[in-house]
């Protein structure tokens, strides 16, 4: 048991170190973007002095490494800084804190991700297992073809087809996923159905195919033949003999897709004008609102690292060699 704990702690430490390096990279990339917020707001006709004064106010006149450590120091204390937008050269400050801006967007994104995951993950596992069981049968072939098609279609196309069918023709769901203030839980679900459905279709194929591959791989192992020859039924072979050994690869692909649901959904959010964090980041990049971009980048990296770490840990704790050392 101790060795498992040590490994988990090692992974955690590695995750934190990775996150640190990612923060450096994010900051460097953002600093390398041409132009800055002052130019974006004031326009090209602005006077040199005005731009300089505004820069000074935002702290952009300081050298990059000092700005990085100021930012990092803040982040470590849970302070992601203040958004640039809302400030104007006029001196009136209507800016809001980054946390305040990101929080509702992050919540929306996580809501959509959770809604998708609740449908997509069990469905993908079920389809993957069933396809593996009836390998090369009719079900397997049709599901393989269907998933190939869904992988090949660009997600915006899927999204527009859904809008055309379910919003325009059938009129059951709104084509635009606007979340009004004071929306109830069910309102949220209602507006999120079409984006969730699109994302389900996009992620399910990958998860299902990898599950199928992992199981087929194990079905060829001698201990599965042994189980069969002990008279274990097909169903129990899968449940008792294959799945316990398949969790590591399956967890990896699920983690990958869950991460995608958080960090890769900007296209779907844009099509449905869903107020998620992906669109916030893209908007902030075009307006050069660096504190927001940096915070979003860090959140995305953190999500990715965390989910992969969880998959890693699942791989470790389902491995009897590590769990029960000699």
């Amino acid at each position: 048991m101790n060795s498992v704990l040590t490994t988990v702690i090692q992974r955690l430490a590695l995750g934190i170190i990775t996150l640190f390096f990612v923060s450096v990279i994010i900051f460097a990339m953002v600093s390398m973007l041409p132009g800055d917020f002052t130019q974006a707001v004031l326009g090209q006709a602005a006077l040199e002095e005005t731009v300089e004064a505004f820069r000074k106010e935002l702290g952009l006149d300081q050298p990059a490494h000092i700005r990085y450590f100021q930012w990092l120091g803040g982040v470590l204390q849970g302070d992601f800084g203040t958004s640039f937008s809302g400030r104007a050269a006029s001196g009136i400050d209507r800016s809001r804190s980054v946390a305040e801006l990101i929080e509702p967007r992050l919540y929306n994104t996580l809501f959509l991700a959770a809604m998708t995951a609740i449908v997509a993950v069990p469905l993908a596992l079920y389809l993957g297992i069933t396809a593996a069981l009836h390998r090369n049968g009719f079900f397997d072939r049709s599901i393989s073809t269907a998933t190939l098609v869904s992988i090949s279609l660009p997600e915006f196309l899927v999204a527009y087809v859904f809008i055309a069918v379910f919003a325009v023709l059938w009129g059951k769901f709104p084509p635009i996923s606007e979340i009004r203030p004071g929306a109830t839980f069910f309102d949220r679900i209602h507006v999120s159905v079409l984006p969730a459905l699109t994302l389900t279709l996009v992620t399910i194929a990958h998860m299902m195919r990898m599950t199928r591959a992992a199981i087929i791989n194990l079905l060829a192992s001698p201990y599965v033949e042994m189980a069969r020859l002990k008279g274990v039924s097909q169903r129990d072979v899968i449940i008792k003999h294959v799945l316990p050994n398949a969790w590591a690869p399956i967890a990896t692909v699920i983690a990958f897709n869950l991460a995608y649901l958080v960090i890769g959904v900007v296209v779907v959010e844009t099509v449905f004008t869903y107020p998620g964090i992906g669109r916030l980041m893209v908007d902030s990049v075009s307006s050069r609102d660096m504190p927001i971009v940096q915070a979003c980048g860090l959140i995305f990296a953190g999500t990715y690292i965390l989910l992969n770490m969880i998959a890693d840990i699942i791989g470790i704790v389902t491995n009897p060699r590590l769990l029960h050392p000699r």
Binding site: A220, S221, P222, Y223, E225, M226, A227, R228, L229, K230, G231, V232, S233, D236, K240, H241, P244, N245, T318, P320, R321, H324, R326
Partner: protein, 534 residues
């Protein structure tokens, strides 16, 4: 005795096909097999003879990619071929059980041994869990497993290969089946472990009067286990007879050839001129895992030194030290009287050329996408700068040396038989014109007749070119056939080194005695005598 008929299994005119290269090929071509209650039938033949396929067919089972296309399989009055899968499943694990070759791969790594042992009892509702567990513990005890009360609560990776093989026998025995198929159950074990497992299996089968089909390629093993022996070749029966008669008086030419393989006998000789001297070698893979302890080995020029030992004794590690793949932590390697740099990267071209290696798995030791000409041509270019005509001529010469002709030059490894592949590997080693060739278990993956051909080839090459060999093996019969000197290794240390005649004749140190006495002999009474002696 049973009131039912004594005939338990009756297979008639069995035909089985396997799918490869996009079509179905016959694997078993009309074989009959019958077995009485409590009887043990030995099924022997070389790899590819169809032994396992026929053994599994006795359960009405065909591996994926195989299908039973003809014949009748009557088990206790029921035709298994006409039964549907769920019907057969009721028989599997309760009345017919299977013991596989690789115990390590045949246990599910995720479950405790005892849960796997009693699984068949539980799914068939034959015994309640508590009772089944107690019974499993009794079986562990009967199979002389250490700590029978607790061993079942371990996971497969926590026990040794020999123990796993016995647990698997207990698992097969758990439902007291009428028939057990043993599929090469001791092939993967060391000889000293094999003896214990054979004894345990034979005793328990006798105790419960279980019938068994014992599949193996090892004649000496089957002689200890079986009442009757059936010889298979290319999916057809060669002959079948009661064990003693089969051993003393085989009828068919093929059977006789199987019996006579171990007939090579090299006259031993030695020399004071040493090609290789290892002195005080210690080696380790990591700081905690010390593999070799003070190893001293001398290889006389133009002679063969057989390095013998069980798995984990440090044989292959010694080879890695000599080739420079694993620099030793202390000690020196001298080659032709000169010190040899410890690490591969510090050796010059000539030092690299002088020592060549041939591996156990010829398959994986060759690039599957290179032709024979490319494989053998590489060392010709690398060591001797040969190109064009000169290279072609030498290639042709080398092929002649390994008793193949020029038509092989353009073939890929996949187009060669196992023996031919190993010959190509020998030619590749010869191409470098080495002084010493290290042969790491080069014949253990080959059938006996093919083994004989390879060993004879190696001996002839030695006679002609004066090459020295280090022959790493666990097979005492091979050692007797080809060596001048023998080194016996145990747990990383050299137990004994000397002339073949000295090492093989008593008195022996304890370990040598144990090792030599554990090698099965063709005498059906060998196991009984051994038990009496110990």
């Amino acid at each position: 005795m049973s009131t039912k008929s004594d005939l338990l299994l009756d297979m008639r005119n069995i035909e089985i096909e396997g799918f490869s290269d996009e079509r179905w090929h016959p694997i078993i071509k009309g074989v009959d097999l019958s077995l009485n209650r409590g009887e043990i039938l030995g099924l022997i033949g070389e790899s590819g003879a169809g032994k396992s396929t026929l053994g599994l067919a006795a359960m009405g089972f065909a591996r994926p990619g195989c299908r039973i296309t003809g014949g009748q399989i009557m088990f206790d009055g029921r035709d298994l071929r006409s039964l549907k899968e769920p019907e057969k499943r009721k028989l599997w694990g309760s009345r017919i059980a299977y013991v596989a070759q690789s115990a390590a791969a045949s246990f599910n790594p995720a479950h405790r041994l005892i849960d796997q042992t009693i699984e068949a009892n539980l799914i068939k509702g034959l015994k309640p869990a508590k009772e089944a567990r107690d019974d499993a513990i009794e079986l562990y005890r009967a199979l002389q497993l250490p700590d029978p009360e607790k061993i079942g609560f371990r996971y497969p990776h926590q026990v040794s290969g020999g123990q796993l093989q016995r647990v698997m026998t207990a698992m097969a025995m758990a439902t007291r089946p009428d028939l057990i198929i043993f599929d090469e159950p001791t092939t993967a074990l060391d000889v000293t472990t094999q003896v214990e497992v054979l004894l345990a299996m034979r005793n328990i089968v006798e105790q419960f009067h279980t019938a068994a089909i014992y599949i193996t390629h090892d004649l000496a093993v089957v002689a200890q286990m079986a009442d009757r022996i059936k010889v298979l070749r290319y999916g057809e029966q060669v002959e079948e007879a009661e064990t003693r008669r089969m051993l003393s008086d085989p009828q068919e030419a093929y059977t006789k050839s199987l019996w006579s393989v171990r007939s090579i006998q090299k006259e031993e000789s030695t020399s004071d001129d040493y090609v290789l001297e290892l002195e005080g070698i210690d080696a380790a893979y990591s700081r905690s895992l010390k593999v070799l302890k003070d190893v001293n080995i001398k290889v006389p020029r133009g002679r063969t030194v057989a390095v013998v030992g069980e798995s984990g004794s440090g044989k292959s590690t010694t080879a890695r030290v000599i080739t420079g793949l694993l620099p030793p932590s202390t000690g020196s390697v001298r080659f032709n009287g000169q010190p040899l740099p410890a690490a591969l990267k510090d050796r010059n071209l000539d030092q690299l050329r002088e020592i060549q290696m041939i591996y156990q798995m010829a398959d994986t030791a060759m690039n599957p996408r290179q032709t024979v000409a490319e494989i053998i041509g590489r060392p010709l270019e690398f060591y001797h700068n040969m190109t064009g005509r000169k290279k072609e001529a030498r290639l042709s010469e080398l092929l002649k040396m390994i008793e193949l002709d020029d038509s092989f030059a353009d073939r890929l490894p996949s187009e060669l038989s196992g023996g031919q592949k190993q010959r190509i590997c020998i030619a590749r080693a010869l191409a470098a014109e080495p002084d010493l060739i290290i042969c790491d278990e080069v014949t253990s993956a080959l059938d006996q007749i093919v083994q004989e051909g390879i060993l004879n080839l190696l001996l002839n090459l030695q006679k002609e070119f004066g090459i020295s060999y280090i022959f790493i093996t666990h097979d005492i019969a091979t050692v007797k056939a080809i060596s001048d000197e023998i080194v016996i290794m145990f747990q990383g240390e050299v137990v004994e080194q000397g002339l073949k005649s000295e090492i093989l004749s008593p008195p022996h140190p304890d370990y040598t005695q144990l090792l030599l006495s554990s090698v099965p002999e063709m005498d059906p009474d060998w196991l009984d005598n051994l038990v009496a002696d110990r």
